[in-house]
Symmetry: C2
Subunit: 322 residues, 2 copies
């Protein structure tokens, strides 16, 4: 990779040694153009067809000055073959990486729509500021050798038994109290856990990839934002395995990009804020795809209103004032 236009190391040192410098450039990563275009209008940004990126990539960039901030909105654009927005983690991580390298922003904001969990207090139209992100579909901890009779439902001829994530977490964290485990067999259970499960647990933690968003206590207080954790996966639906990990992630909202944006941003040492607006209730009784389409316009309007308030709040402030 050719050296980036700015000297990252120097700029980081500057930022750290002069904490009072106001935030001057904000990079938005927004997966769907439907979500981005009202903000492009609001901030009066112009589409850029420059050569920041390799020829042929579908990525879209809109930029301009809003108040004292240089704002860039980046979208992954439309898939060349299918014409749909390039949603998902691979595309979001590539776009984040390439645009941070090219533009060296002070701050990334990943804004977009998401599913919400009613059980955690989410309603359609809520906009969440995210405190933590993690993945829910990168599993390493799902296999355990079966001992006939030790767990309920494991009798039979199969030598191995596949358990779901919640059960493995339960075994790891609460095995001594689990009433379904025969206490006489606990030494055998623990031996299995140490030989098979523990080495995989480290990989599983890597897979889950839990990361914190930039803490912004004043922003939350001032704008009275709802705060929740975000879980990211590459599917619109949710399997029982996804649900178990989402539960372990303690997530209130579920999207398809956040944790991947966080991964790429951490690699390049740029702080991220996430704003996620709820289009559908995952633990409700309507299918996600249908509910999404019905609510999209109204929820995008709510998201854009919240984003504008956040940008107005950030304008002129230092990181320590957020």
């Amino acid at each position: 990779m050719a050296p980036p236009p700015g000297d990252k190391t120097a700029s980081k040192v500057n930022q750290e040694s002069t904490p009072k410098r106001s935030i001057s450039s904000v990079l938005f990563v927004i997966a769907m153009q439907t979500e981005a275009l009202p903000l492009v209008d609001k901030f009066q940004l112009a589409e850029q067809s420059d050569s920041l990126f390799p020829e042929g990539v579908p990525w879209m960039r809109y930029s301009g000055k809003y108040k004292d901030l240089n704002i860039n909105i980046l979208c992954p654009g439309k898939d060349k073959k299918f014409g749909v927005d390039c949603v998902g983690t691979v595309s979001a991580s590539l776009l984040t990486y390439a645009s941070v390298q090219a533009l060296q922003p002070d701050l990334i904001i990943n804004a977009g729509t998401a599913g919400g969990f009613r059980a955690k207090g989410a309603s359609v139209g809520d906009v969440y500021l995210v405190s933590d992100v993690a993945f829910h579909d990168r599993r390493f901890l799902f296999l355990i050798r079966k001992i006939p009779g030790i767990f309920p439902g494991t009798e039979g001829p199969t030598a191995y038994h596949r358990l779901d994530a919640s059960y493995c977490y339960c075994l790891l964290n609460e095995a001594q109290d689990d009433i379904s485990v025969d206490q006489k067999l606990m030494p055998a259970v623990l031996e299995i856990l140490s030989s098979v499960i523990y080495p995989m647990q480290v990989l599983d933690l890597y897979g889950v990839g839990s990361r914190q968003a930039l803490p912004t206590p004043n922003l939350v207080k001032e704008l009275k934002l709802k705060v929740g954790k975000l879980s990211t996966g590459d599917s619109l639906d949710m399997t029982s395995q996804d649900a178990a990990v989402i539960l372990a992630n303690n997530a209130t909202v579920k999207d398809m990009e956040g944790a991947a944006v966080a991964y790429a941003a951490e690699l390049l040492k740029v702080p991220v804020i996430f704003l996620k607006a709820v289009t559908d209730i995952v633990d409700g009784d309507k299918p996600t795809s249908e509910e999404c389409l019905q609510n999209l316009a109204a929820v995008v309007a709510a998201l854009d209103k919240a984003v504008t308030k956040v940008v107005d709040f950030i304008n002129g402030k230092t990181f320590s004032e957020l």
Copy 2:
């Protein structure tokens, strides 16, 4: 992004207008260092600690000249927090993107271990040359409105019913012949399919992301390689939903990077070959994690032998001779 060191457009034109130019540079993307290091020795490559990549990324590069080829082996390296290899699609796509931008190779080879399906003829130790790649854990096509009684098992008070992918594909492709659908209700089925399923089907095809590897008929014939399709997902295990999509992908081998490497390579217009060695049988009776560890050393040796043969074959040849 700053312009890449080479002029991509010019080099592509050169390549197309002079098809007889031999392949001169090969970039390996290899997820695990255990898989890569024997090849580093074999090709007598040297670890490079240069500044091709942004400061702080864990990516490893080994490079050197082997016969007439410039060879670079790239590994995503160890996760800073957990010390495990940065396996998976996000990391693989970022590494592919950044290293292609920096090194402008003629050809990418993604080599590594994989799970194999006995039902498709795979055995432990087999090395497959991959014809096609696709994802199996990026689903958009799993939700359909329930009509009581139209599908078996859908009676009851719930207004919506979640179907698995194989069932949706069946409905889309073979509904007229599906004996489980009441033929009198077919018009209603088709109406549901068109209003709910079809729009999601395009997104689902984007998610599946099926792509062809570079066709290499002479290589396959000369080295008598087994050829099969590869399916990629971010989990070590396989859920029933994964299994349904893997079946639809007609995959013989299953890994955690291939389709993501293909996505990034296609963005930057570089052809890819995939070599995948089978460490464990997914549809066998041993758990993947355990079987993987038992067979790893022997299978990596088989992979490295195959990779060496492939590189020896490529040396001095043009693309049209592969």
